[in-house]
Symmetry: C2
Subunit: 346 residues, 2 copies
DNA sequence: ATGCAACGGGAATGCGCTTTCCCACCTTCT
DNA sequence: AGAAGGTGGGAAAGCGCATTCCCGTTGCAT
């Protein structure tokens, strides 16, 4: 048994299709109350559920928001997703989800799928990239998005404008002050750390990573400190772990006390885990800082100095929440104590 | 400019609507290659994007999977979401997301919305509840789901069957062996812990929590240990933190060395944070275990003994992945060492 | 009493597509 | 050569709904 239709309801109520439609699905014209009641009763009795597809087709507006993330299980993205979801709820829309692992070609595909579903808007999160191997993919993604916009779609981009897009029409970029915040973080860290700095960054060409690196270097420079050495690795825990292993060697060999800035919290956790595995103590032998202030990691010890990013708000903004506001974020300097001071008294 | 339509493509290619449809959208009938080529060219030139809504309407299958979670930013749910997303990808479908904060009435609403969109199937994750205040909501949710199933929908439920559902038709429950695994965990913990056990559980009536508590008690009993005292609190970090504060008092006052089992990792983290804040050392003064083996928390120290749950697989199964398999999970006993052994040698 | 506007319900059209059904044409076998 | 069967394209009928006209009623002012 397929779901019952509006015309069945209309027939049962003894009214026309038009009237039934007007009663059940918010129209400007309100039929008389007694008729309306009859229709509602009929609908109830038949268990009528309006067909949103048909509605969308008829009034060409789907009530859908497309969300593109690299990986929904990554806390960075799931926090953004929460914001998008919330905005959608307020706008009485639903969220369509696509995970892409970050490949522009997958992203292009997702955009096409969203466009096919006539999503009212698309939110695309996840670092844009300028890596040569992504160039072709970026161009195609940009073309797909441009087309979507030309057809009246709205695109919310988290972070950086789409590489290769030829228009601004329909785009709404939520700027994340990665560079400035990283500079601020560097400044604060410089105040409490004597030794050298090392940056554990993602692959070159990843804007988010590059911005944070650039900002960090600027902050160091402003604080009168030498540039940090930059280690490139994967933009995830595994990458951080690998970098951490290498750094551990160095720390143990040279006895220098480094301050390591990983460009996101998850990488920082990887670094920490590797150092710990290699017998490097924090903060005795090294300091570690991250970026994003991932909620689940706030209780992590040794505590990560990090930068708070209002990810949920970012998602909300990208999804076009009217009561806008801009992204600010703030540095969270935390004492990395292996044994919290309070513990000493226990 | 609205997106171009199939009939525009057909006209440009000089063929009928039917032919264009057959060329562009997988039909069993394959038109001649030269004609097909003409159509494809026309489509390309016009930037044709098929209208999925119209397609869905015409062939009454939307290619949508609805996913209902309590909170997409919760790592437990986002891990499941990843699995669902993956299954969807394989089935060539898209995921529609709804977060509900756990209220059955919201869940009902989400189901209705999915039904309206004619989702091919719905996955509903998040603990079912038997709490009296949810009874009415549960009934309505069950009615909505039953109706959806009657209309040919498929429902994948994570954990427990829907409370109040009057049919099995269309339902597919992915059983999670919470009880057995908790028993196993208790057994393992009993082997290495001498003192008393305390369980930090969620509100009474939450099946997931209740199952884990019951299993844990059973495991203790089987190991010849006395029942654990059960503390009820919120099913999240804050709840764990609150419980942790209370337990800290006790630990400090009585000098007893407890083993605390929090019914999920996030709560366990809360407990740990509270104990730490109160100057209780782990593992010197207490032991802590959790459940779920949340990925982001694996590097947490003191390490959580926990139970691995293949959340991604669970999501995949609930989303109806054909190459089934059942949920197993396994206990992960971890030494809770404040200072990892390796560190001592540094 | 008459005219007009406002109102409320219904028939019909179309949203963009899939899918039967039909027909013209071309093979192939007896 | 003729019939039976296959092949490939097109016309048209919906899928379920919103919405535009259209028309019969009613209320009110004239």
């Amino acid at each position: 048994m397929a779901a019952s239709t509006l015309s069945e309801v209309a027939r049962l109520a003894g009214v026309s299709l038009a009237t039934a439609s007007r009663v059940l699905n918010g129209s400007t014209r309100k039929p008389a109350e007694d008729i309306a009641e009859r229709v509602r009763e009929a609908a109830e009795k038949l268990g009528y559920v309006p067909n949103a597809q048909a509605q969308a087709l008829a009034k060409s507006s789907s009530g859908l928001i497309g969300l593109i993330v690299h990986d929904i299980a990554d806390p960075y993205f799931s926090a953004i997703a929460r914001g998008v979801q919330e905005a959608a709820r307020q706008q009485n829309r639903m969220v369509l989800l696509a995970s892409t692992s970050g490949a522009p070609s997958d992203e292009r595909e997702a955009v096409a799928a969203f466009a096919a579903r006539r999503a009212d808007s698309i939110v695309i999160a996840g670092s844009r990239s300028a890596r040569p191997e992504d160039e072709q993919g970026n161009l195609e993604l940009a073309a797909e998005l441009d087309r979507y916009c030309r057809n009246g779609g709205h695109v919310g981009v988290v972070g950086h404008p789409i590489v290769g897009s030829t228009t601004n029409e329909g785009y709404h970029v939520v700027e994340v002050p990665n560079e400035d915040l990283a500079a601020e973080l560097a400044d604060e860290l410089a105040a409490s750390h004597e030794g050298a700095f090392v940056v554990v960054g993602g692959p070159e060409g990843l804007f988010t990573s590059d911005d944070r690196i650039r900002g960090f270097q600027r902050g160091l420079a402003d604080a009168g400190r030498p540039r940090a050495e930059v280690v490139r690795t994967g933009f995830n825990r595994a990458g951080g772990y690998d970098a951490g292993l290498a750094l551990a060697e160095r720390i143990k060999a040279s006895d220098e006390r480094l301050c390591i800035f990983a460009v996101n919290d998850v990488m920082a956790i990887g670094v920490t885990a590797a150092l710990r595995a290699e017998g490097v103590w924090i903060p005795r032998d090294a300091n570690i800082a991250g970026f994003d202030d991932i909620e689940t990691l706030r209780d992590f010890r040794p505590a990560l100095s990090t930068v708070y990013l209002p990810l949920e708000d970012i998602g909300r903004l990208a999804a076009g929440d009217p009561d806008g506001g801009s992204v600010v974020g703030s540095v969270k300097l935390r004492r990395s104590t292996e044994l919290p001071a309070e513990s000493q008294t226990a």
